[in-house]
């Protein structure tokens, strides 16, 4: 009896922990094999003398997005001839701080920091820079606390501008619109700034602004959007600048049978998103996105340029690409692989590169 009870408790705890860990609903795609475009010039120092050792200090390498990002980074690192050591903190911020120390002590020439807290990572980043190690950071805003390191990010401004320009063309001026977003999250805040501007430029009237961030964003925001649409069924378009928010908004539109009247503009792209956008009566009209593979590769190229002394800036931002439902349907695109083949701009092969860098593309 005693043993059985203890077992029950332990099984119960495990189930709870598992439930807490599993979230997110994007379909995972297999690692994409890249193709490398040969370099047209000889490599400068330090690349002319054998493999250059660098480290990748990641906050988390798990999940659809990070897996693709890391795949892109690995392929590009291999093409350039980096010997890259990867540290994955498994979303444990304290471990990422000690990983950074191990990386600094390991005698590498450069360290790439991928995600994490600025407060946690800045001391290590500054220590590395002081030790003469090149540091390139992705998506941790260290511009204030470590201004000498290279800050790279995906351009939220470009993503929002692209999709909202399409919305302005489709809808026209003087319309009523809805908005589903959550403020207080850095990338969503940056997208919000563009929304305010476009709304003003086109004289749109915002009938509702709802949204909350939870463990199941799509489901919870469907309820909010549903209530908002019941009150304001006449809106011409809704901006939901994150794919989970867009999914929630879309299920609310179907519930209210408004799919022929209301257009949705989202941000981000994945296999699951493509499936929703290409449904015959889908209200999701346009989105803007980047390919995580290409971003990972771009960050590694930024490191190569920095080590060769050719980057000459401390901020790099990777632009997004506009993707309309019409484009997806016209080209019979079913998944990310099809999309990359039809939309080579996603590869960012012209961004942050030089003639001596063999650039990796994914298709």
């Amino acid at each position: 009896m005693r043993g059985k009870n203890a077992l029950t408790v332990i099984v119960g705890i495990s189930a709870l922990l598992l439930a807490a860990c599993s979230q997110g609903g994007t379909t995972s795609s297999a690692a994409d094999a890249g193709t490398t475009e040969a370099a047209t010039a000889t490599m400068p120092a330090p690349f002319d003398a054998g493999p250059v050792k660098i480290a990748l200090v990641q906050n988390s390498g798990a999940g659809d997005y990070f897996q693709q990002w890391t795949n892109g980074a690995n392929l590009q690192a291999k093409a350039i001839g980096f010997d890259m050591q990867t540290y994955d903190a498994q979303a444990d911020n304290a471990k990422q701080a000690t990983d950074m120390e191990t990386a600094i002590g390991s005698g590498v020439k450069g360290i790439i920091v991928d995600h994490g807290n600025a407060d946690t990572m800045c001391p290590g980043i500054n220590k590395a820079v002081a030790a003469g190690i090149a540091v390139v950071v992705y998506d941790v805003d260290i511009r204030k606390c470590a201004p000498t390191a290279v800050f790279t990010s995906q351009s939220d401004e470009s993503l929002a501008s692209l999709v909202l320009a399409q919305a302005a063309t489709d809808l026209g001026k003087d319309k009523t619109v809805g908005y589903v977003n959550v403020l207080g999250i850095a990338p969503l805040d940056r997208r919000h700034v563009i929304w305010e501007q476009v709304k003003k430029d086109n004289n749109w009237t915002e009938k509702f602004f709802v949204g909350k961030f939870t463990n199941s964003v799509a489901t919870d925001n469907a309820q909010l959007a549903d209530a908002a649409l019941k009150k304001n069924p006449g809106v011409a378009g809704i901006f939901a600048p994150y794919d989970e928010l867009a999914k929630g908004t879309i299920s609310a539109i179907y519930q209210n049978n408004l799919q022929a009247k209301v257009k949705v503009y989202g941000i981000d792209i994945s296999n699951a998103d493509i499936e929703i956008m290409t449904k015959a009566d889908s209200p999701w009209t346009a989105t803007a996105g980047t390919d995580p593979n290409a971003i990972g590769a771009g960050v590694v190229r930024a490191m190569a340029l920095q080590l060769a002394g050719q980057l000459n800036k401390t901020e790099v931002s990777f632009p997004g690409v506009l993707i309309t439902a019409q484009f997806l349907k016209d080209n019979a695109i079913k998944n990310m692989t099809d999309l990359r083949a039809k939309l080579p701009e996603l590869n960012l092969t012209k961004e942050v590169t030089a003639d001596w860098i063999p650039t990796v593309a994914f298709n």
Binding site: R2, G3, N5, A6, V9, I13, L17, G61, A62, Q85, T86, Y87, D88, Q90, A91, D92, N93, A94, K95, A97, T98, D99, E101, T102, I104, G105, S106, G107, N117, D119, T120, C122, P123
Partner: protein, 343 residues
């Protein structure tokens, strides 16, 4: 034929005893040497010390678990207490603009209070150890989020009344994790000293021996005149304090009130305390065993990371090492191991 049998049996017995006694230490050494010879980065002293530093948090929490296991229980709230300490440190310094010393004082006090609440639930309200500490685990995890609205606390954050937080993590507080004596980081020294104290307490004082007595047979201990309730209460209070100390190191390392901090700590520290029971064939929770268990986990994680193993592969190896240690103490050992908590 009849003459040979006893001799063969004796050799088998010796191998078995050797395995039980030194098997675990041998596994640690073999893995260490394996990484040491094959991985350049693993050989660096900086890698060694950052490994120990990373291990110290799990080890110190594991010492608390060791104490609760010694009295025949198990403290499931340690991870939650460490996480709460991170948020409390951040609140004290960032929101209330107090010094690092004040934060340390408040955190240690809070750890002792949660330990005392656990003790009250178990000793006075007679709730079984696992269930009581499970309940307090969830309560503490939720409670710490109430004053901060479920948000991580960082310097310059916007408070509920619209003003900006004035304070920040003080340099002295951040020094707890980054400071060093020679090449040895402060958390590693703390880890060593706390292991030494716990070992001395458990094996060289009458209180520690009484704790083991309570754990192995509470009824016999009571009849021998040991105040069973007091010792069980003491174990949980000390466990709470140790968990809050590891929370302080975490807070200093992260440099903000990260609400996810401490989440992974419970399972890791239970694992190192369990692994520790097999060291030297003791078959009971003990301080050096826990420290060595934590060291082995550090070797496995650091070594496999440097060798380029993915994170899920690391969990597989961690699980197998735990299993091996349990085979040493349950399957092979002739001593009756008794440290699985009663519900």
């Amino acid at each position: 034929m009849n003459m040979e049998t006893p001799a063969v049996t004796r050799i088998q017995f010796n191998v078995r005893d050797l395995l039980v006694k030194y098997g675990f230490i041998a596994v640690t050494l073999i893995l260490f040497l394996l990484f040491f010879t094959t991985q350049d980065t693993f050989r660096l002293s900086t890698t060694f010390f950052s490994m120990l530093k990373f291990t110290s948090v799990v080890a110190i929490t594991g010492l608390g678990i060791t104490l609760s296991m010694a009295v025949g229980g198990l403290d499931l709230s340690v991870g939650a207490v460490a996480g709460m300490s991170v948020t409390l440190s951040a609140m004290t310094m960032v929101i209330y603009n107090q010094t690092g010393i004040v934060a340390v004082g408040i955190v240690l006090l809070a750890g002792a209070v949660i330990g005392a609440v656990n003790a009250f639930l178990i000793v006075v309200l007679k709730i079984p150890d696992l269930l009581a500490t499970l309940a307090s685990m969830f309560t503490v995890m939720g409670l710490k989020l109430v004053p901060v609205n479920g948000q991580s606390v960082s310097s310059g954050m916007i408070l509920r009344d619209g003003s900006t937080a004035r304070g920040k993590f003080t340099d002295a507080f951040l020094k707890m994790d980054t400071g060093k004596v020679g090449p040895i980081p402060y958390p590693v020294i703390l880890f060593f000293v706390l292991t030494l104290i716990t070992w001395f307490f458990l094996t060289r004082t009458k209180w520690g021996r009484a704790m083991y007595a309570v754990g192995s047979n509470p009824e016999a201990a009571r009849l021998a005149g040991v105040r069973v309730k007091r010792y069980r209460a003491l174990a949980y209070i000390l466990s709470g304090i140790l968990a809050s100390i590891s929370g302080l190191i975490l807070a200093s390392r992260i440099g903000q009130g990260d609400i996810s901090a401490g989440n992974s700590l419970l399972l890791d520290s239970v694992a190192v305390a369990l692994v520790g029971t097999s060291v030297l064939g003791l078959g009971r929770p003990n301080a050096w065993g826990t420290a060595l268990g934590a060291f082995l986990m550090g070797v496995v994680i650091t070594g496999l990371t440097i060798a380029g193993f993915p994170y899920y592969g690391q969990d597989v190896v961690k699980g197998l090492v735990l299993l091996l240690a349990l085979i040493f103490s349950f399957t092979l050992s002739r001593k009756k191991s008794r440290f699985v908590p009663a519900v």
